[in-house]
């Protein structure tokens, strides 16, 4: 399956609701535009989010339009004050965004690749996440950040990470992971309107996926997961792109008469314990699929919650399908092996059921 051809299987089942099939990337941009129209305090910062300036007129050229052209066209509408290109200074402009958020604006920051989180991590951890708490609730940090994660595009070790747990581990920071055009619209809008700092992690493999998106304005409540397939035999838990891998695995299993239930977590902090427990109590078996490395990961966290609160319902040990505990390799074959594939999920389920 190539990235371009993949069609997001995750639809909300909106019969009769006005809407259309759209690409993830277009929905992302349309949602940013809508939020900027809605609230004049919302503005965007990042490297080359318009990209390029005319030497004589100093006007933005929009030659880059953001990483993967994510924000192309916005500078014409909102101008360079609100679509603000930055120097390559992640610690500086994330810190400045936090300062702007503390003083009344609602900044949105494009950090380009997830791997650059670490350049700004001190600001995120020590300022964005802690200001409200350590200052006794005096202030709020209505900041949204986003960055592109994930292996599969040949970007190698320093441009391919999915270290969700590195963000979800921080008290004071919220983390969301859309998996299709429907969820990116609802989650990005919710993140921007939220009064806490929210990090939206966008797997690169999703960017060209298409799927149904209602026209209406809606948000997806932070901390909620959703069922994208119902079944009684096993629960598959996905997040971001692994939700798609789970959906594909479920289809392969269905051909063998195994009915998997698929949960797309959508939010990682806070996250939906109820949906995990409800499903596991019904199917009694669970496989959690995560492209992050396994140590101290979201997969491990979900497994711990299930073991703690649904132990008596389990007919098999909780299984995790994850990346290895290694950086992301460059070579295509190794990179493919790094990522959890639908076949890996299917194999894990088959082994689990064979155990009885």
């Amino acid at each position: 399956m190539t990235i371009q051809q993949a069609i997001s299987p995750l639809g909300p089942g909106y019969d009769g609701v006005p809407g259309e099939e759209k690409r993830f990337r277009d929905v992302f941009r349309d949602t940013l535009r809508a939020e900027m129209q809605r609230d004049p305090d919302v503005f965007l910062m990042g490297e080359d989010i318009s990209g390029g300036f005319d030497k004589d007129t100093k006007e933005p050229l929009d030659a880059w339009g953001g990483p993967f052209a994510a924000t192309k066209g916005l500078v014409q509408e909102f101008g360079p004050e609100r679509i603000r290109d930055t120097p390559i200074s992640e610690a500086g402009f994330v810190g400045a965004a936090i300062g702007a958020a503390l003083t009344g604006l609602r900044p949105v920051v494009d950090l380009m690749y997830f791997d650059f989180v670490t350049v700004a991590y001190d600001q995120l951890l020590s300022n964005a996440a802690k200001s409200r708490y350590m200052f006794g609730g005096q202030t709020r940090v209505p900041l949204t950040l986003f960055a592109r994660s994930g292996a599969g595009t040949g970007h190698a070790a320093q441009h391919s990470e999915s270290f969700y747990s590195m963000l979800a581990h921080i008290p004071g920071l919220k983390v969301v992971v859309p998996s299709d055009p429907y969820s990116v619209k609802g989650l990005l809008a919710a993140a921007i309107r939220d009064d806490d700092p929210v990090f939206l992690v966008n797997d690169k493999k999703l960017i060209n996926l298409t799927g149904f998106v209602p026209d209406e304005d809606y948000i997806i409540e932070l901390g909620k997961g959703r069922y994208t397939r119902r079944g009684d035999d096993v629960t598959l838990v996905g997040m971001s792109y692994t939700s798609i891998a789970c959906q594909q695995a479920a289809e392969i299993l269905a051909a063998d008469g195994i009915e998997a239930e698929v949960i797309d977590m959508m939010s990682l902090s806070p996250f939906d314990e109820d949906i995990l427990l409800e499903s596991v109590m019904k199917t009694n078996r669970v496989v959690i699929v995560d492209e992050d490395t396994p140590r101290a990961s979201m997969a491990s966290e979900f497994a711990a919650v299930i073991a703690d609160k649904a132990f008596d319902y389990l007919d098999a040990p909780v299984k995790r399908v994850t990346a290895p505990h290694s950086p992301v390799p460059y070579n295509k074959g190794l990179e493919t092996a790094f990522m959890p594939q639908p076949e890996d999920i299917v194999g894990t389920v088959r082994n689990m059921l064979a155990r009885g």
Binding site: D85, P87, I88, V119, A156, P324, S326, P329, L334
Partner: protein
């Protein structure tokens, strides 16, 4: 000109090798043989060449996403580089690093680095090792980075460290006018980045980075200073990349044709050829001999890479650590 015949030949060979490697590697990228993004450095041959001409394998360099030229100037072999870009087991990093992560520790090459600014302090650390061991005269650190990277805090921290510890470092800022599409005049608060050196207590020199002789001379002084224990120098090499930011970029979306033309007329290879033939330092025949040899080297490099095996599946798990008692291969 105060430069040996061998050195002159080396300068031309190295610059031409970089030029042809980038062009060949781009061809291969467009054929689908590279496994990821590539950032060509043609046009920018003079800075790595003029600087590395003064270095030996005991000196260390740090590099960037646009690192092929630095690798070649530091003596890495083009066949292994090509194989790395094609993700082969015979590649410089066994196919696990790719274009943006080529390193050769036996040649004093600390690695290309895809996080802008991240390699700068590594060269400072290499210089710290040299000072610690008392071998500054034979081992210095050179940090290559761009105008875009000059906005990263880590550069400023590194300059301060190198200065207060008086380390044998050369900060080599390749100012090609752009960081992706962002012009330096937009993102950098000064016309001459080298002017910032003063605030960190080191000489800052603006150099014509399209002229390998100018780079050679300026680098010679900076490196002599470092080897003599006099501390760091900042060189700003004004240069230009002939291609886009990465293989699939269209630079005319943010640069003018006149500007590109202006710099193409200052092609470092052409001006080298003109100068050495006019001054009768090298013959046209000699230059052609060098070019022909490089052409063959490129054909061989591509053939070597294309005929090389892919890494074993086990390579996914190897070399994460030197030793580790309970590794986790993918949980499946």
């Amino acid at each position: 000109m105060d430069i040996s015949k061998e050195k002159l030949e080396w300068l031309y060979t190295t610059m031409y090798r970089i030029r042809r490697f980038e062009e060949t590697m781009l061809e291969q990228t467009f054929k689908g043989n590279a496994m990821g993004v590539t950032h060509p450095s043609d046009g920018q041959e003079a800075p790595p060449t003029g600087i590395c001409a003064h270095l030996t394998d005991k000196d260390w360099i740090g590099s960037t996403h646009r690192g092929h030229g630095h690798c070649i100037a530091k003596g890495l072999e083009t066949d292994k580089m090509m194989a790395e870009i094609m993700g082969r087991a015979t590649g410089q990093c066994g196919g696990k690093g790719g274009s943006m992560h080529i390193a050769d520790f036996s040649k004093g090459m600390l690695g290309a680095n895809a996080v802008v600014g991240a390699s700068i302090p590594l060269a400072v650390g290499a210089a710290l090792t040299a000072k610690y061991k008392g071998i500054e005269n034979e081992s210095i650190g050179v940090s290559f980075f761009g105008d875009g990277a000059s906005s990263q805090g880590v550069l400023h921290e590194s300059m301060n460290l190198a200065s207060v510890w008086k380390l044998p470092v050369v900060f080599a800022c390749e100012n090609n006018g752009y960081a992706e599409a962002t012009p330096a005049w937009y993102a950098v608060s000064t016309d001459d980045i080298a002017s910032r050196a003063e605030g960190y207590g080191m000489p800052g020199v603006v150099v014509d980075g399209m002229d390998v002789f100018a780079v050679y001379d300026a680098a010679g002084e900076a490196i002599a200073r470092a080897r003599a224990g006099e501390g760091p120098t900042f060189l700003e090499l004004k240069t230009y990349r002939f291609h886009g930011h990465f293989h699939a970029d269209t630079p005319l979306n943010y640069r003018t044709e006149e500007e590109e033309e202006y710099f193409r007329e200052r092609d470092p290879l052409k001006s080298f050829e003109k100068r050495v033939t006019e001054q009768k330092l090298m013959t046209a025949k000699k230059l052609k001999g060098i070019r022909d040899a490089i052409e063959k080297e490129m054909v061989d490099a591509v053939e070597f890479a294309l005929n090389s095996p892919m890494p074993d599946a086990e390579a996914l798990y190897s070399d994460v650590y030197v030793s580790y008692s309970n590794p986790i291969p993918g949980l499946r």
